[in-house]
Amino acid sequence: MKDIDIKGLWAFALLVAVLLTPAAGDEGAGSRGLVLDIYADESGKALVTGYAEGIDGLPFLSGSEYQYDEDALQLYAVTNALTTKNGEDWEIRLLTEGSYGEYHVTFYLSESVRISEISGTEGLDYLVSTSSDSFVVEFHGYDVTEPSAAVRYRQPLNGGRAEAASSALPSPGGSTEKLVPVVVLIIALVVIFGAVSFRMRGSCSSPLDPAGSSPRPPAEAAPQPPTGGSAQGPYQGSRAAEAGGGLLEDRREEDRREGAGEDVFMVDLIPLPDLDLDPTPRPERSKTPISGKMTAVMETLTERERWVLEALIKNEGKMTQAEIRRETGIPKSSLTGIVVSLERRNIVTKKEWGRTNVIELSERLREVG
């Protein structure tokens, strides 16, 4: 049968196709294809890559840095124009102009966000999944005109990385107003802290100070809260911070529960690297050498677990849980779970120290391999 006349059969198939395709082919005549992958970071900056048959329908490019290869129809862009922010609520939206025969846009968001709403114009279907520490939101559509795809999500403000980077974004007026009292408080606390550190030279050091190789009890490590009527300095400062509420409230509450002491709270509240209360020069913490085992383990970790391990490696393999939280910006509730998970896999060990925990890289990971 196959030998009879394959060419004839193909001609017949073509004839049928020619006969029939006008009905389907007219559907999207003149429209084009758009296949974009959009990766957003926690500051709202996004990398847009993909295939675009023309970029005149992508208005966000006008204010963005981009490269477009007209031969290969490849687009690369880095932009802040797709995201907007209002407090903890974010939206990433791709607005396009013109008609698209084939539309496939995928947003990759950090898994630390909470998606609150997904919306697309008529004709777009969406699908959400998780992959590689990301939420993946795919929009598909056929023959759509001026399609718009949007994802609203909530990203906690105490995600340190998000906060640090969010200054790059044009923030809505409301959130700027909310930040004013916080800034005033921070300045006040810096002044108070400076005065106190001048008075309390040499009175305290970090529990993980290499000079004292083993952790000391908290009472020894943290500066004593002032007693009696002469209450000044840090303690007063923390009261001021309490009055600030809002952004600072969560951390204050967390630290109270963690029992790291008011002064630790102060340092935690304002992560100023130069504010060391110990006037004696401290040797810089050396990095723990990265063993082969460590590298192998790293590859099995989630993004946040890697942050924790990287922080430990940078700090001689030993830190308090509060320090890790400060360094990584991971919220306390999440960090507790991460530490438990790492401990269960014999990647770190956890020791109680006063009312907080000291986290260390496990011995097996310290072996240089």
Binding site: A17, D37, G101, Y108, S129, T130
Partner: protein
Amino acid sequence: MSRNIILWLASLLLLSVGGAPLSSEEGIGGGDGTAGHFLYQVADVPQNADRPPILITVVRSERGLGMGSDGVILPVRLQVERARAIDPTRVRRLLGENRTLGEIKSEIEGSEEGYGYRGKIRLGEATYLIRNISITIGDLNSTLEGEVMEPAWGAISGRSGPGMAMVGKIRVETRPHNGSVVSAGSVVLFGGHRPRPESYAVILEPSIGGSCRMDVCLGPGTALDPPMGFWHRRGDGSVLSSPRPPARPPM
């Protein structure tokens, strides 16, 4: 002869010659649909060394018709993209490091990540994704095979699965013909809510402006040049046939 009879005959002939029909048994248990989200079967297609690596190309964008075994005729759209797997965590890290666009681009292009295919097909009003795609390029034809997945559109799936199930298989063979190309094959759906398997004979041709220019996608001197290739798609979408490779001298 009525149009339906022509269609039926054409479908029958194509099923018997152009696209070998798939039995429903073939697909059962053939995949759990939970493997990685974007990494499908990695294509063994070389990249043109003279051009920067291309992240996403549309290797097929076709439309046509499908005829069901019960005589129903549906419009069909098929799109297959070839995409490089990029780790989103890595991209976020690069963005966080305030790298320039050029630096990010070079980092991504210089990575060792592999390529994979991802596709979708619309039969009537239903859109399915195609996973585990393989494309075989022969002397005179290319064949696409893949698993048809039915996603839970509009649902948010958990980490345990991508929220879709394999419900069928597709096999489409593409050949050049008179300066154009035509694809024919079959789609068999046997899972999901269907009370019984459904099969469709499909006939497709490239849609307007919706396809990769093969010389750009793959580069001259690579997969589609003789002796492997047989067509060359021009910028306006038309297709030129390449001369057949000379026959090998007898050993």
